[in-house]
Amino acid sequence: MNTERYQRQIILGGFGIESQQRLTEAKVLVIGAGGLGCPALQYLVAAGVGCIGIADHDVVELSNLQRQVLFGMDDIGLPKAEVAAKRLQQMNPETELILHPILVNRTNVIEIISGYDLIFDGTDNFESRYLINDACVLLKKPLVFAAVSGFEGQIAIFNVANEFDISTNYRDLFPVQPGANEVPNCAENGVLGVLPGIIGTMAAGEIIKLLTKIGKPLINKLLHYNLLSQEQYEINISPSDEYQKVTTEADLMNNNIENPIQSYLEIDAERMIELSKKDSTLIIDVRERHEFPRLNANTFQQVPMSEFDRFASSTIKADHIVLLCQHGIRSVAAAEKLHQKYGDTKRIYSLKGGIAKWRNHFLTF
């Protein structure tokens, strides 16, 4: 270890050469080299973490550059893990970088994370987040969680016991993975580039605190950060009994089914019209009441998404249920809800592209 490189932090009271040594000996896996992963990687490498794994299967795109600060114009189309490693190695040749340029999935997650002391989740989707969480629970790996939405961010530390020997994980916060389309991601919702920069850097700070045992890391706490107001709100997480804790690899597999068998069918307007002729078909418009165009109430029963849960808890007699909305996005969420209730006992359809796409077909009703 080149102590001159780390001199500014070694001289810190409460840090010292011992803490630096702990960083040198640490093995950290960063999953997702995106908006959160880039700044976290930069500071972890700069701080002298001895070994860092970078897991990302994506390539650099132009729209990434607004927030993913390890990448430049020349990198567009190149694998993020490789480009990031090249830049980071230049910054600090002392850190050993291990590349995992693949999608972390339920068959490889155990193997990938088992070699590391601490995992950072900087991914951008719930499927990966729940999978990583469950794998970390199973292997008892400390997990630093960070996520952003719009102008706000969340950070937490899971699977690290507090002084009362209590540890929590993401399922204690949100036991059930939200369905696709239920919560908008950055691509749909947008994100101000500097926000993941702040949150990713805060996460790097938490990782360094955990590894060097300094300060009060966010163990069993969820920190909310709001960029617009510069407000932070910290809540204490306690264990939940609403879910079954992962204890075997089989649990991990069952909890994280990939590409679930299509639970509903996405159909075009022709098929919808065909189905509408059957007596056993119910067509539901899930748009809110103020939305246009208004449809013929005799054919299309209106159940706005905001009232859908209440509706779904009643018993539906129809065997075929077609859901539609303006663009075919909310109707997918509604279809998933109905599928959760009825499984394969009813055929559930969503009108792909929604009313916007098939506007002319609705004139005939």
């Binding site: 204690d172 939200p178 919560v183 709100y233 809540i235 306690s238």
Partner: protein, 76 residues
């Protein structure tokens, strides 16, 4: 009684932060009340925190308590 509501993410777009006068004695009652006055909430995953402690089971609410309403974030 009067409580303080603090909300985050998408939920803050329709609830925001506000003082609210309620006649609910428990967090379960409050959830039902909130979902009635803000129907959008009913279709969302969210968690409550009562005075900065995550609500894991039905809990008593007292005057001037603060209730945070949090949705999950996935973006990275």
């Amino acid at each position: 009684m009067e409580i303080e509501i603090i909300s985050f993410g998408k939920i803050s777009e329709f609830i925001g932060n506000q003082k609210m006068t309620i006649d609910c004695g428990t967090t379960d009652e409050l959830k039902t009340h909130l979902e009635n006055i803000f129907p959008q909430l009913a279709g969302m995953k969210y968690k409550l925190a009562l005075n900065k402690n995550l609500v894991q089971q039905n809990s008593e609410i007292n005057n001037s308590d603060s209730i945070a309403i949090m949705p999950p974030f996935s973006g990275g």
